[in-house]
């Protein structure tokens, strides 16, 4: 039986892009949450955490309401890119991104807050602007925790089902990700295909968790000589 591998490639691509976006935006949000006092800080934290606890169908509904064809954002998108966002693979990226964000922001905030503040103070007293302090001091010192969080976020966005099916739909060859393909294979009684896909994604997920744990374990003392401070 010839297996259509498109869902796997699509899932990997969607997960990679959404994780990259989550890293860029998530690190910035996490830095804000860890370093700046502003009104609504804990509200922002809660809003970012929400996708972790809400049912995926609710998230999908929110996305449709916010980014659907009839909404202002949806129209701007359509005007800019010449087509609607919903029911495209880009919509699957947004859905996956929503799952990656909380994992990244939560871990990165904790990692930034656990960096000994005297390093950052030292950097500032040496005349370094904020971005340099972040890039050369905070980020490298929090690097392992963030790498671990990135791996987990990737795995999480690889496996989304509910939001994707609500917002990107299930169009074979276009928006059908691995999780959705498995659902359809089971529904249509194609047990062999379902088994194969399940095994593949389980293996990928296991590999990622192994990597994340390795990173996490080495975050505080590990193979390299433990930091003396």
């Amino acid at each position: 039986m010839a297996i259509d591998w498109f869902p796997l490639w699509l899932s990997l691509r969607v997960a990679a892009i959404s994780t990259a976006a989550a890293v860029v935006i998530g690190l910035w949000v996490a830095w804000l949450l860890a370093n700046r006092e502003f009104r609504g800080r804990e509200l922002l934290d809660a809003a970012v955490t929400l996708p972790l606890v809400l049912p995926p169908t609710v998230l999908g509904y929110y996305l449709l309401v916010l980014l659907g064809r009839a909404t202002p954002i949806g129209r701007v998108y359509e005007w800019m890119f010449g087509g609607p966002l919903v029911f495209t693979w880009q919509a699957a990226v947004v859905a996956a991104w929503l799952h990656a964000m909380p994992l990244l922001v939560k871990s990165a905030r904790a990692a930034f807050e656990s960096v000994d503040h005297s390093y950052e103070r030292a950097a500032r007293s040496l005349g370094a602007p904020e971005w340099l302090t972040f890039a050369r001091v905070t980020l490298p010192l929090a690097r392992r925790s963030i790498l671990a969080a990135t791996a987990l976020a990737f795995a999480r966005s690889l496996g989304d089902f509910g939001v994707t099916i609500m917002f990107a739909g299930n169009i074979p060859g276009r928006t059908q990700t691995l999780a959705v393909a498995i659902y359809e294979a089971v529904e249509s009684g194609n047990g062999a295909l379902a088994r194969t896909l399940v095994l593949v994604i389980s293996a990928v997920a296991l590999g990622i968790i192994w990597f994340a744990n390795r990173m996490g374990a080495r975050a505080f003392g590990g193979r390299r000589a433990p930091e003396p401070f």
């Binding site: 390093y119 500032r124 007293s125 005349g127 602007p129 930091e227 003396p228 401070f229």
Partner: protein, 356 residues
């Protein structure tokens, strides 16, 4: 020249009492030591000056530049204050080599200048050949010198040191003092050093500011402060012995003398201008200025009979601790011989009594 007027309040929280910092500080070039017990607000003072903590009110001036002005709502960020800061744990970036640590402070300067300054610092602080090492590959003394070099490489206008000698053993301490003396001679900038170690005040301090509960209680040249503590509290902070509460029973302005009562004995004292008969005053006497001897059969005038409570052997001679909070030093006595005698007399020369 640093001039700072700092006001910062911390309301009482769970497990902590209210704390208020009210400190007026002037520091010229040379080492000014901020001395005081833990929790007196010394590190907080440094953090306010460096810009890590924002005072509620006040003003910080460094060489006529305003670093902070509460009324005018001016507060320069730490990176623009040009205050070198040496942290208690050195805070050398563990992810960078020694050279990168130094170079970090020269961000944005031309390459040639960076090279020149790094070479200069490596030589001045005896760090040649260690450029490629990371902090965890350096010895304690090297880390210490590196952190001082890093704080100075950007040519700051002031150097702040937060208990740099804490937790160091004696040789490292001596090395640090030598380095800091060199820095004091090479750089004509104010150096503010926080410590609760008296030896450090004497080793390094050109000036000393005694801080207690957020306020300055005395300032001046270290040995003057030590010789003339302004109050009982300062004398206690300085770890002075023989703090005696005496009652004035007679005053003789002509002979510049007085009669004092301590422990039911009347002894001769110096004249205390501005005090009345019947006043209780605190006086302070250095242990080595007290004369102690085994009690003779007849106690002479001005001698106070006491009993010996403890003999401590120290590096230089003995310290004899008597009843009535009196302590004397004996530079060439024998501890066992001293212990054999229980009853002693002590005599305090009037000139050695200092009024607090």
């Amino acid at each position: 020249m640093l001039r700072a007027r700092l006001r910062k309040r911390f309301p009482a929280g769970p497990g902590s009492a209210e704390f208020a910092l009210q400190l007026d500080l002037t520091a010229g070039s040379g080492v000014t030591v901020l001395f005081g017990p833990s929790g007196a607000g010394k590190t907080l003072t440094l953090d306010c000056i460096a810009g890590f903590v924002r005072p509620d009110e006040g003003r910080i001036l460094l060489d006529d530049q305003i670093l902070f002005d509460g009324a005018a709502r001016v507060s320069l960020p730490p990176r623009k204050r040009r205050c070198g800061y040496v942290f208690q744990n050195y805070a050398l970036f563990p992810n960078m080599t020694l050279r990168q640590n130094l170079e970090f402070a020269l961000h944005g300067r031309p390459r040639l200048e960076r090279r020149r300054r790094i070479a200069q610092m490596l030589e001045r602080f005896h760090l040649e050949g260690l450029q490629g090492r990371r902090p965890h590959e350096l010895s304690g003394g090297q880390k210490q010198r590196c952190s001082i070099a890093r704080a100075l490489i950007g040519a700051p206008r002031m150097l702040l040191l937060d208990e740099p000698a804490r937790g160091l053993d004696a040789p490292l301490r001596a090395e640090l003092y030598a380095t800091l003396r060199q820095v004091r001679n090479d750089y004509r900038i104010p150096i503010l050093l926080v410590t609760h170690d008296l030896d450090e005040c004497f080793e390094l301090g050109d000036d000393i500011v005694v801080v207690r509960e957020g306020r300055m209680v005395q300032s001046g040249i270290p040995h003057e402060v030590f010789d003339r503590p302004a109050s009982f509290a300062v004398a206690q902070l300085l770890g002075l012995h023989n703090l005696l509460s005496v009652e004035i029973v007679a005053l003789d302005p002509l002979r510049k003398s007085s009669r004092l009562r301590y422990l039911e004995c009347e002894i001769e004292g110096p004249y205390f201008p501005g005090h009345l008969i019947g006043d209780r005053v605190w006086i302070c006497v250095r242990p080595r200025q007290i004369m102690a001897a085994p009690r003779p059969s007849r106690v002479a005038p001005n001698q106070i009979p006491v009993t010996l409570e403890r003999v401590r052997e120290r590096v230089h001679g003995l310290r004899l601790e008597f009843s009535g909070d009196l302590a004397a030093e004996d530079s060439n006595g024998n501890a066992d011989e001293a212990r054999r005698v229980k009853d002693w007399v002590v005599e305090i020369p009037p000139a050695a009594m200092r009024l607090l």
